[in-house]
């Protein structure tokens, strides 16, 4: 562009340009998003959602609404007189229909982006959760990364429960499962996305951690409960709900859940209790970290054998059995007892899954990926016919890295001294 206008016209140009620039700037004001602004004081922030179903098959959605004023001070719900959350329920034939009804009773627009958990009541879960996953996948404001739980009773009861040390119990439960996953090794957070993905997978089976209320039955649904030194009812992770083809078909125990996690290689760190030789009570424990969790399908004639290889290593936490711990060779029998313990966990969980007719381990998945042709022949009715007949071989390897700050057992040494005297 050659710009060679005379000096005299410069000012005219710049005047025109200035006014143009001003016009553009004015236009920019309009672009700033008048349509999509979201003012904090016009929103009702949801921290948890509960899903129940009525007898007539309508969805009952409960929301845990965060009350900003009540949580503005530091600390737990102790010390404030207002409840940090408010729970309310709407009903509708569809999810979003029910959400929309909230405008009839809530003065603020519901905002789902900070929703951390979704709790599904057992009844609703058994009815089928496909519409729930569909609603989450289609809408941008409710993210698929929310953790999902199933509860034996109604979901609303869990939402009403306050947690000690946490102001917003929805966020608290999310933290609870995160902690469990990291240090507990019994349960694993399942996001809506993962659940949807596993339902769409070749075996259509997924597991969701169960959450329930335990205790003496007095609900902790008022800040007055914080005046006592104990809480009557606690929120607790328990059992795992097994979903098959979008419907919950049954529960597996925590013990079995642990087996699933080990076999899939999802355990990060956990404690394993084990008994001394010849005893039944598991008086000893080890803190163990999973190194390996691998399942390999091996063809055996016309059927398949699943080889589950698991390994871990850890440090002894308590040890009350006899034996000289200063010799490396003596650690091996101890490790073997831990291995047996884990083997039981895994074998029980496989048996449990087989009796539920739900391939929660994704054996079928492995067959599809590694032996596609054979899988095509057997994939029909896999959960009902193929999977329950699968044989498995569980190989566990445990290494005791450290024995802690003691060498021999204190308990045992006392006993030995006593015997000598």
């Amino acid at each position: 562009m050659k710009r060679s206008y005379a000096k005299g016209t410069m000012s005219e140009w710049s005047l025109l340009r200035r006014s143009l620039a001003a016009l553009l700037l004015l236009l920019l004001l309009g672009v700033a998003g008048c349509w999509d602004r979201q003012e904090l004081n016009e929103l009702g922030i949801i921290s948890a959602t509960g899903i129940d179903i009525t007898d007539s098959g309508r969805w009952k959605l409960s929301y845990q609404l965060v009350i900003p004023n009540a949580i503005s001070s530091q600390g737990a719900y102790v010390g404030s007189s207002a409840s940090p959350v408010n729970v309310f329920t709407t009903e509708g034939d569809s999810f979003r229909g029910a959400v929309n009804k909230a405008t009839q009773e809530m003065s603020r627009r519901l905002y789902f982006s900070h929703n951390q958990i979704v709790i599904v009541g057992e009844k609703a879960a058994r009815k089928g959760i496909a519409p729930l996953i569909e609603a989450y996948m289609r809408n941008g404001d409710s993210r698929e990364t929310v953790a999902i739980f199933v509860t034996e009773g109604t979901a609303r009861k869990v939402l009403e429960q306050l947690l000690p040390l946490e102001k917003i119990s929805g966020a608290g439960i999310n933290r609870l499962i995160g902690l469990e996953e990291k240090y507990g090794g019994n349960f694993r957070a399942m996001t809506m996305f993962e659940l949807g993905q596993s339902m769409l997978g070749p075996v259509h089976v997924g597991g969701v951690a169960g959450i329930g209320l335990r205790g003496n039955g007095d609900p902790v649904d008022s800040v007055d409960a914080a005046k006592a030194t104990h809480t009557g009812t606690k929120v607790r992770l328990q059992k795992v709900a097994i979903f098959k083809e979008n419907r919950m078909i049954g529960w597996m125990t925590s013990h079995e859940s642990r087996g699933i996690l080990w076999a899939k290689g999802w355990v990060k760190e956990t404690s394993v209790s084990f008994a001394c030789e010849g005893e039944r009570l598991k008086r000893n424990s080890i803190r163990i970290r999973q190194k390996k969790g691998k399942i390999t399908p091996i063809k055996q004639g016309s059927s398949w054998l699943m080889r589950v290889e698991v390994s871990g290593e850890g440090a002894l936490m308590e040890y009350n059995c006899p034996g000289d711990m200063s010799k490396p060779g003596n650690l091996r029998p101890i490790a073997e007892r831990i291995e047996q313990e884990l083997k039981d966990d895994i074998e029980d969980s496989i048996r449990g899954a087989q009796s539920l007719h739900a391939d929660i381990f994704g054996f079928g998945n492995l067959l599809l990926k590694q032996h596609t042709r054979e899988w095509k022949k057997i994939h029909k009715n896999w959960n009902e016919q193929g999977f329950p007949k699968i044989e498995s071989e569980v190989i566990v390897k445990v290494k005791i890295n450290k024995t802690g700050r003691s060498v021999n057992s204190y308990n045992n040494t006392i006993k030995e001294m006593h015997d000598k005297e």
């Binding site: 562009m1 309009g30 672009v31 349509w35 999509d36 996948m137 993905q197 769409l200 997978g201």
Partner: protein, 408 residues
């Protein structure tokens, strides 16, 4: 503000790279082949490379012509004008498609309440402004945006990797149902979009005329972007798996939304949106611009006028499709079936019929252009004197474009 310099080989390579990425992050290309989409993409990329070679061969017959000029050389004046006009309209249509994509994307992710007319008006206005500034400005803009695009992609891939979402097993089983579905996906759909869209280079190549690095730059850029697209496609597939990827409207966005790190790095939609905005802008402006340039070289309409004609048309047409479903269907199912006429069939015919004689014809015509001081040719006036020619027909020299000159 000098508009007289040639486009460098590097600029051309960057433009090709960004143009090819374009709106691809919006789709999981080749999803019909399930977990083998990346194989389909590979095959289409290889075929696309063949087409690129065809385009380049055509260009080499008359380095200073654009595709409208080439049409005229091959098919004669009248047929050439008609074909050039047709391609110009097709490119405007494709530009319009991207405007609509831009609108749909914004209204379904970032700004759900903002009316689409406003979003689309803004992007069309920006594209018009770009076009009015000339080819070189546009190429420099792509240069400026390039690091942003690459940076966003790198960050995205890094975060996906770090958050452990990538599961290579999702790509198995490879070729579950044999080659047939893969081939069906690759041809013609994937070849038409995105690979053979590089046909627009036949409009821009003439600005690199005389630069002997241009060919190498084009080929290497094409190879790089193909590998890049295949890699990104495979990564998204590894994150989502074929089942989810086929459900979601914006798979890349979905994959990125899954990133959750250290309890605070999450909801990184903005990263993908940035990618898409840059990509879509390049695509919209690139198509719009090539439509405008073709209108000039086919019918002699000056750039500024052509830009003013096409701008409102593109904007208005973007409302023609009633719904997004229709829009996506028209784009991924219908238009990929007829664009190959222009992208593949006609260039191949030209390659066959124009063997040898076209090059001689072009050389015969060449000397007449620069010698005559009054530029009788509209389409070949950029040759030989890049320093003095108002190649881009920028706004400061309206008189040279005001009279549509008949073709010599």
């Amino acid at each position: 503000m000098k508009e007289t310099g040639n486009i460098s080989a590097g600029q051309l390579a960057i433009f090709l790279f960004m143009f090819s990425i374009g709106s691809t992050p919006m789709f999981q290309l080749g999803i019909k082949a399930g977990q083998d989409s990346w194989i389909a993409l590979c095959l289409a990329a290889v075929a696309g490379f063949g087409m690129l070679w065809v385009y380049r061969t055509l260009q080499n017959r008359a380095p200073e012509e654009d595709i409208a000029g080439l049409y005229k050389l091959h098919f004669g004046k009248i047929a050439g004008t008609v074909l050039g006009l047709g391609l110009s309209i097709l490119l405007a249509y494709e530009s319009m498609r991207n405007v609509r994509d831009f609108g749909e994307l914004t209204s379904s992710t970032l700004l759900p309440q903002t009316p689409m007319w406003c979003v689309m008006l803004l992007i069309t206005a920006i594209a018009y402004y770009t076009v009015s500034k000339g080819v070189f400005t546009f190429f420099r803009i792509t240069q400026i945006l390039f690091p942003m695009l690459l940076g966003s992609y790198t960050l995205m891939m890094f975060l996906l990797l770090v958050s452990g979402l990538i599961d290579y097993k999702q790509l198995r089983p490879v070729l579950e149902n044999g080659y047939e579905p893969v081939l069906k996906t690759a041809f013609p759909d994937l070849l038409s979009f995105p690979f053979s869209q590089v046909v627009v280079l036949l409009v821009y190549w003439k600005y690199t005329a005389g630069n002997n690095k241009a060919g190498v730059a084009t080929y290497s850029s094409y190879i790089a972007v193909s590998i890049f697209l295949v890699a990104v496609n495979a990564v998204i597939m590894m994150v989502l798996g074929p089942a989810v990827a086929s459900i979601k409207a914006f798979p890349t966005l979905e994959a990125v939304e899954l990133i959750r790190l250290f309890n605070f790095i999450e909801r990184l939609d903005i990263l993908v949106t940035l990618l898409l905005y840059i990509g879509l802008y390049i695509k919209i402006a690139g198509m719009y611009f090539s439509a405008v340039l073709l209108l000039r070289s086919a019918c002699g309409v000056p750039v500024q006028v052509a830009a003013l004609i096409y701008g409102p048309i593109i904007y208005a047409m973007s409302f023609m499709e009633p719904t997004n479903t229709f829009h996506l269907w028209a784009g991924l199912e219908v238009s990929v079936k007829f664009t190959p006429i222009y992208h593949i069939a006609i260039p191949l015919i030209m390659l066959l019929i124009g063997f040898k004689w076209v090059k001689r014809k072009a050389e015969r015509q060449k000397p007449s252009g620069p010698q005559a001081p009054t530029q009788p040719q509209a389409s070949t006036q950029t040759q030989f004197q890049p320093q003095t020619q108002p190649q881009s027909q920028s706004q400061s020299q309206p008189q040279s474009q005001a009279q549509p000159q008949p073709q010599s």
